[in-house]
Symmetry: C2
Subunit: 453 residues, 2 copies
């Protein structure tokens, strides 16, 4: 019987950060991390394996060496069962580990919808965070010319763009009226669609997939809801992920009806001494206060830090006060991102909002080389002016610009606060001080609030 | 006699933004802006005239058209005197303008130190925001091969790099031990010095200029404090700026001993109805609460917005609560920036601080093309953990990353808050979620606070 103070199950971003922050906070405790594969994938780097990076080996998080450096033992293996009474985990190898504190960081698994026929045909892929699967997939998809990607969330969009880079015919199918429907309002999604279109990805929105048809056991064509048939050498399903919480459920750790492990604001499950972080853990939206199925490595890391700091007592001032979904990505030289909730989602929830949308450039003067159009949309609650969401389209600084909106939301800044904010600007790095997009968008909101107030 | 409701004197960033925000806030009022030249220069674009942009015409702010679009009258001329009793401005042309509210946005002028001999020789330049001067200078400096730049603040550094682009021999002389001494601690300044050195700029620190010597009326050589002599076809003095407040002083508007026009947190001078914004207006440091000689277009714009919103009554919740100096710039593919105060400055002021310095990369995995080293240093007050300053070195997203530190300072975030912050990350746009530099630097501070607490 192995003994440890803290056992972490899962070796992706959430597990790793929980181990690192935990060990750094409680250096006298013994930490052990169990992970399924020797090497973990950089989660957000996965789509880039199929184009820019070229292979899985360029997309590795060196878990073992990072754990060794931090003084955390790491075991490659799979936990078969947990006994929360005796505080024991049993690995598939038969090995048993006694723990005092447990962190579940078991992540998520890609959805293969049961209503869709043909998902088990050869050359129908999903995108798990599994190195061997991705390695094999990268080989198998290499010579496929016609590829259909189903689902235009961030992974579907990134993957379509990457697969296209190697000269393939890529069709991206999305049943909602626009791509990235959870992340962007139509006004911004239209522009992003335009970038993707320019890169040669064929986009079909407002139409779902009805059936995947095979020939000799491999995929042959995709039948759409509108009767159209797309020939396909390969299909990639990016139709969402579900929390990987079977182990928790079987051990009697409470799980909600969507499969997320129940947690409080310190990331504690209802079972004493057991924490859950990352894709497998329940989340609440910062703005709507409703449960939110957000699965992002960045969110997972934030949760993992909270769990790590609070393993033995609750000594931090701040808890996890709700998930602010902050995503960003790039298509070629264009970056775009979103933080908080969209205008459409806000209205659905019953928020009375005002929005501001400013279009400028990300350099100044605009004649500098590399200057790109930059668009910022902000969504604020009308009465208080509090910023609840925003989107960015621009050059490659769009990621950090999106983080600025995230930080504004987290600090409950109002449009007035933003309007008065002090910002640094530089010709080669940002928009001009007189046309800084966050401030200009805030200004529009302030003007509308006054007019309607 | 011309009549207006609001008169703005100055057509650079501060004046323009005061006019735009003012008119948008008080649409029924008549706004008039007086500026010295038809076209204003994009202030932070000025160094780039001498390299990347090539000429002044690429660096123009279209003041007239922006004012026309906003419904603000704009006059090209110079105000000779003000009568604050009769509320009348007299232009050099003899024209008189009656106003109800006045905004002074007269900017700053480059310093030519009186102790330095030779500053009036031909081919000894300063960098004013004056289109005709810069146009002429760009012509005159074109064929100069050996150029000495005196003073390694942001403008000196940027200008040296730009002048070097055209194959010249550029020597940058700074009397302090490091370049950018007001903006960066030695640990970061050393690295920036290295970038500049790699680009071929010769840097001499810790040595001042003693005399500029001429031959036939034009500069010939520069004598340094250590006795060394630098041959020079041209010299550029970037030794600082002083507020352009003669007009205000002569009109009896109070001015402090450094020449800054006295203002309160609404940017009002002590004379009823008169505001001052931008380089000519007094500033107080957000952290030290002392007067601060910060002159930045971005700060000017923030002040101008406050004045514009408060011209007729004080209806905003937030006033200008102190200047957070936020600068950023680039040398080739490297961006760097600073917000708040440096560690050295903080210690000088008597703050008990802890710092965190994290080195990572600005992409993830680090093997992605264009990945650059990224360094973030944070400075926090030890007892409260409140972030009071920080510096960034990285790729071109360093500008917005610096703004994130600025927003953290403005929101009085602590290292704990930052450590728990939610951040979006993407392979092509940012560092990894597990190695996001702001959070990692905050983590180091938290660890030190605990150890020393």
């Amino acid at each position: 019987m192995k003994e440890t103070d803290v056992l972490i199950i899962g070796g992706s971003a959430a597990g790793m950060v929980a181990a690192l922050t935990g060990k750094s906070s409680w250096p006298a405790k013994k930490f052990t991390l169990v992970k399924m594969q020797k090497d973990a994938m950089v989660p957000c780097g996965i789509p880039y394996i199929f184009g820019t990076l070229g292979n899985v080996d360029e997309n590795i998080m060196p878990v073992d060496s990072m754990m060794e450096q931090a003084g955390v033992e790491s075991i490659t293996g799979r936990v078969a069962s947990l006994d929360t009474e005796t505080k024991t985990a049993t690995l598939e190898s038969g090995e048993k580990v006694r723990y005092d504190r447990l962190v579940m960081a078991t992540g998520s698994l890609p959805v293969k919808p049961s209503w869709l026929n043909g998902t088990n045909l050869k050359k129908v892929f999903v995108i798990p965070k599994d190195k061997s699967y991705l390695e094999e997939m990268n080989e198998e998809i290499r010579d496929c010319r016609k590829i259909v990607v189903v689902g235009a969330g961030f992974i579907g969009v990134e993957l379509s763009d990457e697969l296209k880079k190697n000269g393939r015919e890529v069709t991206l199918v999305e049943k909602m009226p626009d791509i990235l429907p959870m992340a962007f309002d139509k006004d911004l999604a239209d522009r992003i669609e335009h970038f993707l279109d320019e890169r040669g990805v064929k986009i079909m929105t407002g139409v779902g997939v009805k059936e995947i048809k095979g020939k000799d056991g491999a995929v042959h064509e995709v039948l759409l809801g509108n009767g159209e048939v797309l020939p396909a050498d390969a299909v990639v399903l990016s139709m969402g992920y579900e929390p990987n919480s079977r182990l928790a459920r079987e051990a009697g750790i409470p799980v909600d009806q969507n499969g997320f492990i129940t947690v409080d604001e310190y990331m504690r499950t209802p079972v004493p001494g057991i924490f859950a972080v990352g894709d497998c853990a329940e989340k609440r939206d910062f703005v709507t206060r409703k449960k939110a199925p957000v699965m992002l490595a960045s969110t997972a890391c934030a949760e993992a830090r909270i769990a790590g700091l609070n393993l033995y007592n609750l000594h931090v001032v701040k808890t996890f006060s709700g998930t602010i979904a902050i995503y960003s990505t790039a298509i070629g030289p264009y970056g775009f991102g979103t933080a908080g909730i969209t205008e459409a989602r806000a209205r659905e929830e019953g928020f009375v909002v005002e929005t501001g949308l400013f279009e400028g450039v990300d350099r100044h003067p605009g004649k500098l080389p590399d200057a790109r159009k930059q668009i910022v949309k902000l969504v604020a609650a009308r009465e208080s002016g509090i910023i609840i969401g925003g989107g960015v389209i621009g050059g490659l600084s769009a990621g950090e610009l999106t983080n600025l909106i995230g930080l504004a939301i987290e600090n409950k800044m109002t449009a007035y606060n933003l309007l008065m904010s002090q910002i640094g600007t530089h010709p080669c790095l940002t928009a001009s001080p007189a046309g800084y997009p966050l401030i200009k968008a805030a200004e529009m909101i302030v003007r509308k609030i006054r007019k309607n107030g």
